[in-house]
């Protein structure tokens, strides 16, 4: 997302997304389909519920000794001949990768889909250093050609029609393309195959890293993760510190639920376990392997209010079920990570002020908790964030004053009774057919998108005081 787009207020971004008819249809179809696939996958997998609890317990146990697990991981990566780097900020992470590219004389980098490298805006930095980054996941490739950002964690280009993709390929690749997904995929295969074979540098994220063995685990459906880690001379994996798991036994628990939550597959097509550079006797694999451990705000949350969000597997299940995401899509959120978990991750990476508006982009319905493979209590943390936003006086003053008055009112019975009586009188000009559809400024903001129920002609307290039947 460019800064220019971010200067548009969230409400406006969401508003224009809701007026985009194609986006609305695409979102409904995609999210509904993902919900169904996920439900089916778990329906045929009775042990799934227990595995979700185990997965969460493993994440929690790993966080409690994160220092030790990372030390083990580092020692094992180095034992295998890999190099480990440490990045506190996105800027540090970028300069580490750019330095590796410069030192190894890389001119083209092929990238497998990685939210971590999206998060640190690596592509712009590579370009500035004269290295051409090529996204190789089909969806990411499309949005890179279109100079956009992903709109869904696992389906980055769901906001585009096949017609738009065909136009894009015709224009950018200078070859005529029919609006047929099969044909478009064939074109992308041919274009990207060349790049895989030419590129000097392969860049990936990591779905997991196994401390015990120094293994980086990549999950893909297309096979680009395998290409990127097998063909170029150098492989760099950029990974948030929370992605480490202790052992292969732990890894299997996550693999059993990850794809089911994301796409409803029992397992994604390719799960690649890569360990260090190529070994003696091997034909392929990189000569150099680098692991970049990224903080970017994660470490401070190990003991912070957003700790639970460090268990996120980036499956996208919470996006699909979120009534807000389903209406506005990924771009309106304005940051790398969209959806309910995205709000928490944005607060983690950018600080609470960044989610002043986003913290309210949730109905707190809890559908995300039910869908989350590791049952992250997203609404609880959103409420905490709202409180923090309020404590730091980040909300507009009108909102803060209104809620301060309401708090007073609700704490004082006499004031409350008086307000009910006053309200009954004051609402007369506005109440029609048992609802209030329009209020004068500044209250008009409330009724702009919804009705307000009027104060009842007899309040509950009045009925309680006079009506014996009620008390019987």
């Amino acid at each position: 997302m460019s800064d220019a787009e971010l200067t548009t207020p969230f409400r406006q971004r969401a508003g224009s997304a809701m007026k985009d008819e194609f986006l609305q249809e695409a979102l409904t179809i995609a999210t509904t389909k993902f919900i169904g696939l996920r439900r089916e996958a778990f329906a045929g997998f009775p042990e799934g519920e227990a595995l979700r609890d185990r997965a969460r317990a493993i994440k929690e146990a790993t966080l409690q000794h994160l220092d030790r697990h990372l030390e083990t991981l580092i020692a094992n990566v180095e034992r295998l001949g890999g190099h480990v780097h440490f990045a506190t900020t996105p800027a540090e992470a970028r300069s580490i990768v750019v330095d590796i590219a410069r030192r190894t004389g890389a001119r083209m980098a092929v990238k497998a889909k990685s939210m971590a490298t999206e998060e640190i805006h690596l592509n712009e930095a590579l370009e500035a250093a004269g290295v051409t980054p090529v996204e190789t996941d089909l969806g990411e490739y499309i949005i890179q050609l279109a100079h956009e950002r992903p709109s869904h964690i696992i389906a980055p280009a769901i906001h585009k029609t096949k017609g738009q993709v065909a136009e894009l390929f015709t224009r950018e690749l200078k070859r005529p393309a029919e609006p047929d997904p099969e044909a478009l995929t064939r074109i992308a295969r041919a274009e990207l195959r060349e790049k895989f074979l030419q590129a000097d540098l392969g860049i990936t994220g990591a779905n997991f890293a196994v401390a015990d063995t120094g293994t980086v685990v990549l999950v893909t459906n297309e096979g680009n993760g395998r290409m990127v880690t097998s063909l170029p001379r150098v492989h760099v994996a950029v990974m948030g510190v929370e992605k480490v798991v202790p052992s292969f036994t732990d890894l299997m628990v996550f693999l059993a639920i990850l794809a089911k939550s994301a796409t409803g597959q029992k397992l994604s097509v390719y799960t690649s376990l890569v360990q260090g550079p190529r070994r003696a006797g091997e034909l392929e694999g990189p000569e150099e392997f680098h692991l970049v451990l990224l903080d970017g705000g994660r470490i401070a949350q190990i003991g912070g209010p957003l700790r639970e969000a460090l268990s996120c597997l980036r499956c996208g299940a919470c996006l699909n079920v979120c009534p807000v995401y389903r209406q506005i899509g990924g771009h309106a959120y304005g940051y790398t990570y969209p959806g309910p978990i995205g709000i928490l991750l944005t607060a983690m990476l950018e600080g609470a002020p960044a989610v002043r508006d986003l913290a309210h982009a949730s109905s707190l319905c809890g559908a995300c908790v039910d869908a989350c493979p590791v049952r992250i209590d997203i609404p609880r943390m959103l409420i905490e964030l709202r409180r923090e936003v309020d404590d730091e006086k980040l909300a507009p003053w009108t909102e803060r004053v209104a809620f301060a008055l309401l708090t007073k009112l609700l704490q004082n019975p006499r004031l409350y009774r008086f307000a009910a009586k006053a309200g009954r009188v004051l609402q007369r000009p506005f109440a029609r057919d048992g609802r209030i559809s329009r209020l004068p400024l500044p209250f008009g903001e409330w009724t702009r998108t919804r009705d307000l129920p009027p104060v009842a002609s007899r309040t509950f307290q009045e009925r309680w005081a006079s009506d014996k039947d009620l008390r019987a």
């Binding site: 994160l66 969806g139 990207l192 297309e222 202790p246 397992l267 097509v269 190529r278």
Partner: protein, 247 residues
Amino acid sequence: MTTRAEFLERIREQVRMSPGRSPASSARRPQHPAAEAETIRRELVERWPETLEAFRREFEGVAGVFHRTASIDVVPAIVARIAHDRQAREVVTWHSAALGADLAPALGACGLDVHPMPAAEPSGGAERERLRTLAARADLGLTGVDLAIAETGTLVLVSGAGRPRSTSLLPPCHIAVFDRTALVESLRQAGVFLEAWHRDGRPPAGGSAINFITGPSRTADIELTLTRGVHGPKEVHAIFVEQPIRG
């Protein structure tokens, strides 16, 4: 730049100030993974037909093509038929030691151009490039299988000398040959084998990549339309050989 010491110290500090809030426990690692893996194999000596049937069902469920044959000697004919149906000639294969049998002569006799990968590391960059180009140009890639997971219809391939990663990746059609010794029932059991392989620090073939392959390469990135063969193979065949391949 952040140093390793600073980075880890900040994590240590956070870990110290944050007692766990919810239930926490890592998975119980097998105490003696090699022995446990052996037990799994022994139990499957009895149960393999059911496990194979489950594998077939799941493998076909992810659009894999399953074949079954009595002995390894029949495999070249099956490969030749797959090739002829696709008017394909060029075949890259794992080295005979990695496959468990030397199929090159028989494949050649069926009219295919066979390129077995060498058991030793290529002598230089040019040779490495030549072999990679062969794999990139080939129509079919023939490999062995280290584990076949019934629960998910997954083929697990360990890279190493004579067993390049590209054989199962670059050609548009991947054919994998396995016998009952590769069968396991579940992801959990596969985990036991992974633990056993790494207990002495190295996987069996000494390679740096282990790939779990569950059907042909796929994407649904354009309007959620399922399309196969985006980067990896468009087709994956698994040939089950009834008589153990290594005698």
